[in-house]
């Protein structure tokens, strides 16, 4: 049973309708975004589901996951904090910012905070060179930019996220 088709029939068909009917393979990337929306990574079952929809092999779907940096085949923190450390950002202190952020969180770059919420990673250029240091957050099916950052600002934002999640849990 194809779980993606079963759970999100309208969304899958909406994606397919963007491309000529004989080129279903074009839907592979939008479908991967959909598949990793909930868990933050693409599970094995989803690879097979997408392969079936796009009429390609699941190995081919898997190779797409491996090639593109925004797709993941392993779980990480709920929010991936991705700091650009390329040249223009580094000229505005991005390396130092990342180093200090990790130190304050007591983790190494690439690691996740003990509560499982935040994974901090160094990534490549995000087209925000004039507002460095900056990071994007990938999680909960969204990608959001946070620019002109300081370590203090980022830590305060992380506290906010934690508080919001806690309030949400208590309300439920």
């Amino acid at each position: 049973m194809n779980q993606l088709l079963q759970h999100y029939p309208a969304e899958v068909n909406g994606i397919l309708s963007k491309y000529p009917p004989q080129f279903k393979r074009s839907a592979v990337m939008p479908l991967l975004y959909m598949a990793q929306r909930k868990e933050g990574y693409v599970a094995r079952q989803a690879l097979a589901d997408i392969a079936e929809i796009c009429e390609i092999s699941s190995t081919e779907v898997s190779s797409i996951v491996g090639f593109y940096s925004l797709f993941y085949d392993e779980p990480a923190g709920r929010y991936r904090i991705q700091v650009c450390t390329d040249l223009p950002c580094a000229l505005r202190g991005a390396d130092k910012y990342l180093h200090e952020l990790c130190a304050r969180l007591g983790i190494k770059e690439g690691e996740t905070t003990p509560d499982g919420l935040f994974t901090v990673e160094a990534v490549k250029c995000l087209a925000a060179c004039h507002r460095a240091p900056m990071f994007q957050v990938q999680g909960d099916g969204d990608i959001i930019y946070y620019e002109n950052q300081t370590v203090e600002l980022t830590l305060a934002w992380m506290d906010e996220v934690r508080a919001k999640l806690k309030a949400g849990k208590e309300a439920a």
């Binding site: 592979v28 580094a90 060179c129 004039h130 990608i143």
Partner: protein, 421 residues
């Protein structure tokens, strides 16, 4: 510049709203084009304007359109919004601030080559931007600006966005096409060129976001108006993305041919107090570095020809300023690490070459290098140059070659700190 033609949201902050854009004459040009002009006339207007591709290559836009054969159908238009060059952040601002002018340019371009379907490829990180663009496209559909039988003619057009997922290589146009087709973003062997065999094997025009945003005012105000701005061979306005060691980084819309001095000091406020400009990378991480010893070089006009004449490239005009605190050996370790990460792995010189350059440059920058590593790094770069399948591999050596050649002592200082004292 008093009036903006591309970054119009700086003059009219609400121009991202359809009713505001239309109240200023928005989509009247598209209507005029579809109802009163032949596709060939639109193409000629753009050809005569002297507009050149703003993505980096600077190829004449009208000429590019004219390569589509009228014997093969359908035609497609694809917009390149992959914007991933370190130092470039202009397309993002157009799409956020002045999206309808871009969409109108895309629509006019589609009519000029008689495409009924156009895709805008956005880098995956522009996730929220893609969703807002989808909403604007839906607004256009609701307003009768997209769909079948536009303005009572036989012409129909639909627009879609397609998100990438984090791959610099997808800014290379054939890799971008592969990516839309649901494949790995790896460049195709050429010929055939996309104008003949592009998306789904059909004739395809691929233009950058900024290029398309220029098409709207050209058709509104005419080729002669556009040609009156800029220089003879580099016509029009350009958005310069200014970053690095300057006090006011950001996007600045200026006529082509404006000097580096005007951009870096006039707009950007120059480097920090007490610092001086040591080098300039005018085309992002892919640039040949311009060494600034004599301040006269800052009076070089920023147009395609003048920047080439001083041994560099204007590219997408992503101007990274380096002040005298920057060590070029460190800088090269940054750019090379980027290209190593972004190499698609298809051709050997780039895949292996960037790997070895990254190892060597990393070792030099971390202080663990030996003097002969500098020469070895240069040798590896020279062996990559001219042998790659696409420009990414060629770009990866620019900073290495020009960096070592012009700033060798920076590298030597890192590998042998005692001997340079």
């Amino acid at each position: 510049m008093s009036e903006h033609f591309l970054l119009r949201h700086l003059d009219v902050p609400d121009i991202h709203k359809l009713e505001v854009y239309r109240s200023l004459g928005g989509f009247e040009t598209f209507k005029k084009v579809v109802t009163t002009m032949q596709p060939a006339d639109v193409l000629n207007e753009v050809k005569n304007s002297g507009l050149r591709g703003r993505g980096g290559a600077g190829f004449p836009t009208g000429l590019k359109w004219s390569f589509l054969p009228n014997t093969l159908w359908p035609h497609y238009v694809v917009c390149n919004g992959d914007e991933s060059e370190p130092g470039t952040f202009k397309d993002r601002e157009i799409l956020e601030g002045n999206p309808f002018q871009f969409l109108e340019g895309l629509a006019i371009t589609s009519y000029a080559v008689q495409a009924n379907l156009a895709y805008t490829y956005l880098r995956g990180e522009f996730w929220q931007l893609a969703h807002s663009l989808d909403e604007r496209i839906a607004e256009m559909e609701a307003a009768g600006l997209l769909g079948d039988n536009l303005f009572g003619t036989a012409y129909s057009l639909r627009l879609f966005t397609h998100l990438g997922a984090g791959a610099y290589i997808c800014g290379e146009e054939t890799a971008l096409l592969e990516s839309i087709e649901g494949k790995l973003g790896q460049p195709r062997l050429r010929p055939p060129f996309p104008a003949v065999a592009g998306l789904y094997g059909k004739p395809t025009v691929i233009n950058n976001v900024e290029t398309l945003a220029n098409v709207t005012p050209i058709l509104e105000k005419g080729a002669a108006w556009y040609k009156s701005i800029g220089t003879e061979k580099s016509a029009g306005v350009k958005i310069f993305s200014l970053s690095g060691n300057v006090q006011n980084p950001g996007n600045y819309e200026l006529p082509l041919g404006t000097t580096f001095r005007e951009l870096i000091y006039g707009c950007g406020g120059g480097p920090g107090e007490g610092r001086r400009v040591k080098g300039i990378m005018p085309a992002g991480a892919s640039s040949s570095i311009i060494r600034v010893d004599d301040e006269k070089i800052l009076d070089t006009p920023m147009d395609y020809e003048s920047v080439a004449a001083i041994g560099s490239q204007l590219g997408s005009a992503s101007v990274i300023v380096l002040d005298d605190t920057v060590n070029l050996g460190w800088l090269v370790s940054k750019t090379v690490n980027f290209f190593k990460h972004e190499s698609c792995g298809k051709c050997t010189p780039c895949r292996e070459g960037t790997y070895w350059m990254n190892r060597l440059a990393g070792r030099i920058a971390s202080g663990r290098g030996r003097l002969e590593d500098v020469a070895l790094l240069e040798t590896v770069a020279n062996q990559i140059a001219g042998k790659c399948l696409c420009p990414l591999g060629e770009f990866s050596v620019m900073a290495v070659q020009t960096g070592i050649k012009q700033f060798r002592s920076d590298f030597e200082e890192l590998v042998a700190p005692s001997s340079s004292q």
